[in-house]
Assembly symmetry: C2
Homo-oligomer: 207 residues x 2
DNA sequence: GTCTATATTCAGATAGAC
DNA sequence: GTCTATCTGAATATAGAC
């Protein structure tokens, strides 16, 4: 009998997700029809529902894949003996997609989805809570080394996340220069955390 | 013959817009049916389309009303002899809706709409460009008084707007305290602009 | 009320692994 | 040769703008 080829399956799944991301980023969840995703992915509608049970599930998968990788890096950062290194690692991850032109649209779509889809809200909320906790811990460790940010660690962590989110949104502006923007963001983050950030580790984004 | 009562007309129009704002903020444009707006506004669908030609037009009106008032205040701020006072006035306006729970949803809806609706994108883009220009001018005037922000005025203005946008989005967090948040935002803004901001002028928001 | 758009289903066709 | 993964496109039923 025929068996499932995991590699092939994963490839096609990724292709569908890429097509869906483009559509969702441009038109939101409700503004995207499954037919458009199919057309862009070059498949029939039956195939789409062979890989994902519902349109909502496609959107969930798009984020779940990403959040899983973030969780990994978060743990790695917390396990590092040097908090400065850990902080830099996590910061790099959180800003890795700054040059992804789809980011603003996907964030907007996610915001709306979260207000209507409890499960999805939990997915995002959980991740955010863990990220805030990790950043707080790292900032507390840095504080014992004499680094005192303008706000107490939990609030500094909150503002850091806020500013990073803001940086993603600003990618909609015209005349947007990812490199210059990233450099400025490092400057703002350094002030917020009283921690100089080393130049970004080359190696590129991850999507 | 029966004539229109302008006051009554405006009242009902405002009521429809309020209902629409609530729905759009929670479900986005595509996720909101005109039927839901009608139900919430307590009117029939015929009435809705008597006041607005299309669903899109309702969304436009929601923002156009607000942007017109912002434009007014922007001009007033630029005309002030003391740039510090002008800056404070404009800043207060830009942050006036921070305690509006609908703000995050409406911003998300606007982001998606802007990517699909050229006219709407123009509406927002125009306003943003004017606001950036006004802030830049004010920061330049402040610079001549010895206030030197961490970035040159156009970039400092850009970051200020970006951070304010982000502050609106952060209003989705639980445990969100508008007052504390606003105070911290003032601190961040003061650093970004090298300008101490006086305590917010009481008088409340405007929506 | 009308008329269009669209998520999801289904009955079937093809083809690779055993 | 059989069994199942994979894929298709028409059919359905429902919702929603106007």
């Amino acid at each position: 009998m025929r068996t499932v080829n995991p590699e092939q399956h994963a490839r096609k799944r990724a292709r569908i997700l890429a097509a869906a991301a483009e559509e969702f980023a441009a038109n939101g969840v409700d503004g995207t029809s499954t037919a458009r995703i199919c057309r862009r992915a070059g498949i029939g509608s039956g195939t789409l529902f062979h890989y994902f049970p519902t349109k909502k599930a496609i959107f969930h998968a798009l984020f779940a894949d990403d959040l899983a990788r973030t969780a990994e890096i978060r743990d790695r950062a917390l396990a590092m003996p040097d908090p400065e290194e850990g902080f830099a690692l996590l910061f790099d991850r959180l800003t890795a997609d700054l040059d992804d032109p789809q980011a603003p649209g996907l964030i907007a779509a996610a915001l709306i989805q979260a207000s209507r889809d409890v499960k999805f809200a939990g997915l995002l909320g959980d991740d955010e809570a863990r990220t805030l906790a990790a950043l707080t811990t790292l900032l507390e460790r840095l504080a014992t080394k004499g680094r005192t940010p303008p706000f107490p660690p939990p609030r500094a962590a909150r503002w850091l996340v806020t500013v990073i989110d803001a940086a993603y949104l600003a990618a909609t502006d015209d005349g947007y220069d990812p490199a210059a923007h990233a450099a400025e963001l490092r400057h703002v983050a350094a002030w917020l955390t009283a921690t100089p950030l080393p130049p970004p580790s080359r190696g590129g984004g991850h999507r």
